[in-house]
């Protein structure tokens, strides 16, 4: 393994450890939006998708790339979209009253 490859693995493990610590602090009240937000983040693979599609040599590869981009974009955009919708529903007692009056 080259130095770069080792660094990549280390970055993966370090991020995982840091993420684990941060996510531990999220209350179970927000677990559904947390999960759907994380889900949206897993669409980060869009970055790789765009790069491999750009470097593709054949038309077939570019078509496969396009499919992948569609899947990843839906994952990201709809993921953040539904998370936003869910989070905006959470209101405290005061906020709910304010809206009602």
């Amino acid at each position: 393994m080259s130095a770069l490859e080792i660094i990549l693995v280390v970055v993966f493990l370090a991020s995982a450890a840091l993420g684990y610590k941060l996510i531990n602090a999220v209350p179970s009240l927000l677990h559904t939006p947390l999960m759907s937000g994380m889900n949206a983040l897993s669409g980060i693979t869009i970055l790789g998708m765009i790069a491999v599609t750009a470097f593709s040599q054949s038309n077939l590869a570019r078509l496969v790339g396009m499919m992948g981009i569609i899947a990843a974009v839906i994952n990201v955009v709809a993921g953040f979209g539904v998370t936003e919708r869910m989070l905006r529903m959470f209101k405290s007692g005061k906020e709910a009253e304010g809206e009602g009056s």
Partner: protein, 466 residues
């Protein structure tokens, strides 16, 4: 590579990654969570722009733009149309798409003309397999949640052996990749098939109530797939965010497992909560329950509601199933209007995904400061006049504390039976998903059972109070 480029190549992903982490940090408080989500989304947008600036996309510009446009159009439709009740299957579906994208990225990388290092081949192979299993597993899970596939666990003959063999096959193929790089085309095909099969076999044996664990685990694998694909491509941001998502899913999986008293391996390899145990429990169930519950109809639930000064409502999957959230809110409002204190007790695994009940109640404007986690509210049952269980069973089953040897023994449950009076709205008195008879149904002077669809029962109560 110039110094400036190098700084940009490391610095920009680092900044974006820190942005995502700050976004997650903001998610830990309900007041800042919306901004946290937006910050994460913004970082993602910047990352995509950065890729466009850094990469020469002219070779496939049409495909890329078309892909993004189609994706955005579909997303808008989904975001606007999806109902909260469909959220579990939606998360499953989107998760599957993320896995699919990682698998496709790996396929293209494996088939590219440029020769690759052993590390590149191994990580591509892994990303392909994990992406494929995330895709098929998520699709099966989403199908089960939507009801297009039967919810019951389906176990094939030799199921476990097959799962192990498939996993071995995947590992062998990946090890072979760097030794025989020429077979990458064939290996690609085989890895895709084996990955898809693994995901299918994994998810098809999982029953309804184990879904929170399954969905969390697939959430984790989708992150891992993205992270490993990032290693294959040498993309730091992909690696880092993939790692974060992988860890998050794993953490949720652990929380879910703990709350359900299930070990991860039991869910993965389907050791418990299958048919046999359920039948056993059904047989030991006392036969006279039905008669006793009928006798209990003489207590007037309306009077109980009127007499109670403090009420704790315990919603479960039955509430979601009969879509009775609106009625629950109406009842809570009616009770509060006459001065009764109403709170909600939420078991961590009530429903079909982590936090499912909170979202459903938030949708009908129940303020989140009335929703209490199990540990916070359990001591309060003892000085509460009435606990109202709506479509929950296993999560209030006191057998979890007493019935050694049953699947739920040791599982943390809501101690609803400690309340002065207990009212249970349930479809029937059959054991819940865990298959353990619930002694609360045996009839006690302070327990009132209302059988039937939760929505109908609630409407009766509302009419009686109103």
């Amino acid at each position: 590579m110039g110094l400036v480029e190098m700084i940009l190549d490391i610095g920009i992903p680092l900044i974006l990654c820190l942005g995502v982490l700050s976004g997650i940090r903001l998610m830990s408080n309900v007041k800042t969570a919306v901004n946290g989500n937006r910050l994460s989304a913004l970082c993602m947008l910047l990352a995509i722009i950065y890729v466009f600036l850094r990469t020469d996309v002219s070779g496939a510009l049409v495909h890329i733009i078309a892909g993004i446009t189609i994706g955005i159009l579909v997303s808008i439709t989904i975001t606007v149309r999806v109902r909260m009740i469909q959220m579990p299957q939606m998360v499953g579906l989107l998760n599957g798409l993320g896995g699919l994208a990682s698998a496709l990225a790996a396929i293209i990388t494996l088939n590219s003309v440029e020769p690759q290092s052993g590390f590149g081949l191994i990580t591509s192979g892994l990303a392909l397999a994990v992406g494929a299993l995330t895709f098929s597993g998520s699709m099966v899970a989403a199908g089960k949640l939507q009801g297009t596939l039967p919810q019951r666990p389906r176990v094939y003959p030799g199921h476990q052996t097959m799962t192990v063999l498939i996993a071995l096959g995947i590992l062998i193929l990946i090890t072979l990749l760097p030794i025989f790089p020429d077979i990458s085309g064939l290996a690609c095909l085989l890895l895709s098939i084996l990955g898809l099969l693994f995901g299918y076999f994994f998810a098809i044996r999982v029953g309804g109530a184990d879904m929170p664990i399954t969905i969390s685990l697939l959430n984790s694998t989708s992150g891992v797939a993205a992270g490993i694909a990032g290693m294959a491509l040498g993309d730091f941001l992909l690696v880092s965010v993939g790692g974060i998502v992988g860890a998050s899913g794993l953490l949720l999986t652990r929380i879910m497992c703990r709350s359900m008293n299930r070990s991860l391996s039991a869910v993965l390899f389907g050791k418990a909560a299958t048919g046999e145990k359920k039948e056993q429990a059904l047989q030991t169930e006392p036969a006279e329950i039905v008669g006793e519950t009928e006798a209990k109809e003489s207590v007037d639930p309306i009077v109980w509601l009127k007499e109670a000064q403090s009420v704790i409502i315990i919603p479960g999957y039955g509430m979601a199933l009969s879509q009775a959230q609106e009625q629950v809110k109406t009842l809570a409002d009616l009770l509060e209007a006459k001065g009764t204190g109403v709170r909600f007790a939420i078991h961590p695994v009530a429903g079909r995904m982590p936090g499912h009940m909170n979202v459903l109640l938030a949708e009908v404007d129940v303020p989140y400061d009335k929703l209490f986690e199990m540990e916070a509210i359990n001591p309060d049952f003892a000085h509460t006049d009435l606990a109202l269980v709506i479509g929950a069973n296993d999560v209030v089953n006191p057998a979890a504390n007493t019935a050694e040897g049953t699947p739920i023994y040791g599982m943390p449950v809501l101690s609803a039976e400690h309340a002065k009076r207990l009212m249970i709205l349930n479809f029937d008195t059959k054991p819940g998903y865990a298959g353990v008879h619930n002694p609360l149904y045996d009839g006690a002077p302070n327990i009132c059972l209302m059988l039937g669809d939760a929505k109908g029962s609630l409407e009766q109560l509302i009419a009686g109070l109103g």
